[in-house]
Symmetry: C2
Amino acid sequence: MSSQIYIGVDLGGTNIKVGICDEQGKLLKTLEGPTSPELGAESVLERIAQYVRQVVEESDYSWEQVAGIGAGLAGFMDIPEGFVKFSPNLQWHNVPAKKTLEALLGKQVKIDNDANVAALGEAWSGAGAGIPNVVCYTLGTGVGGGIIINGKIYQGSAGMAGELGHMSIVPDIEAIQCGCGQMGCLETVSSATGIVRMAKEAVERGERTSLALHEKIEAKHVFDDAKSGDEVALRIVNRAAYYIGRSMAALAVVINPKRFIIGGGVSKAGEILFQPIRDTFIKFTPEAAAEGVEIVAATLGNDAGVVGAAGLNLR
Amino acid sequence: MSSQIYIGVDLGGTNIKVGICDEQGKLLKTLEGPTSPELGAESVLERIAQYVRQVVEESDYSWEQVAGIGAGLAGFMDIPEGFVKFSPNLQWHNVPAKKTLEALLGKQVKIDNDANVAALGEAWSGAGAGIPNVVCYTLGTGVGGGIIINGKIYQGSAGMAGELGHMSIVPDIEAIQCGCGQMGCLETVSSATGIVRMAKEAVERGERTSLALHEKIEAKHVFDDAKSGDEVALRIVNRAAYYIGRSMAALAVVINPKRFIIGGGVSKAGEILFQPIRDTFIKFTPEAAAEGVEIVAATLGNDAGVVGAAGLNLR
């Protein structure tokens, strides 16, 4: 096989996942192992290099076919320099990840933040394949985002583009403070954390709801109870969906993407979440900007990160 | 002079303005005449062609130096095709403007909507000169917008990118319907029309305000009375500014521009408008996305349209 291959690294706080993609973004082979961040950044980077070599060795491809290596992780970084200023889950401070990996591997390395990388993965060979302009939401503990313009991650002036979870979208009267310090961020209502918070508050207020029966409320319980007809749970789901829909309506006249993609754990709730998002989007978007625009679920699941990271060197 | 020149056409409902720009976006010469849209689209396009030839003839440049011609107008259009579907102020329906002008002039012609073109003008040689990513607001009868990414107009999938006036941003409880049919668009509160509406409503409600003394309230009166200390007028100005600031806070984590530029008639109000916009922006934007971002007034004034139109063929 003479074609080029692209290696992606999804660097999480618990696990490192590496994978080989072909030029079409098809994931050919993966390998996973523990991150063990407590051993320090150098040790983690060495382990990444080892996994990258190993996944290629165990494949039908040769090291010469590796066109580049990409890595996605959560944190604040200087993306062009590949310098991680701070990563909370890895406990990294000022780690020159790109330079270190390039020295260890002798290949070009690119890094980017995990939400951007997941967006690129979906745009490359997932729910956005073949569409030049897409906007991706990742609904998990927080709300991540990534904007793909002409098939590439759009970074903005300071790498802050696509931080959709920090669009301040909740009206003052019902806004609460976000972890970022601002008021009314999308993340405060539409993340798993936000959904669980709203559920707990409803229970604490003594509202009549089946949510009170869970020992420790999780986002999944809220969706399940909403599906079972619990009105309080349904109201919370609708509120989370409403603000995603409104943020999309704003993006439709700003980015004007052809497709919105929603991934992350919360997106697994399905139509009970997607339908009110679509309804709100249609209600608040001028017809010319809503026409033909689709709101769809991500398709790569947990592979989006490793695929998108592989794509950093191609796209 | 052997350098290339670029011709811009600002096609308004009342006047046609044509101008010559050099390669740096410096406006060298202009010519103006009536649009007379009542004579029909063909007549208007012929007059544009005549003005374009005339402005070059009367200059120190030769027709051979003309590298391209651009035109900006208000309306819905297929931008790549240069086909105007509908222009309310020109009363045009399905006019192949680009093709007709190319046939008349024998040069490459590009057309775009007026807000995009004004944004490009400011980005090229106005308040955004030298900055790759800027977002421009044009505050007039409506609220127009234009997004410049890497020095070029960003169009989005259906040419609806940068329609900032139709970001739905006013909370439901105080939203009114916009001319576009949607609820709560920025344009309903932050345009001259929106400001005058709020002033009239305050007077009709019998609020104690100097606004009641104007026979026919204009946006300028509201700013003047606010400057004189009228609290009702000040509240209206602050509300118009507040939603611009909030829309900018959202854009800071989506487009993440280096600079926001505000032009159009309403922007002439000065600091009484700009200061609350800046205050709101800072309040609702995560620090990393607000740092170093400037909110400034447009500098080209009425020339932004003709300069930006000239730039359509260069940028």
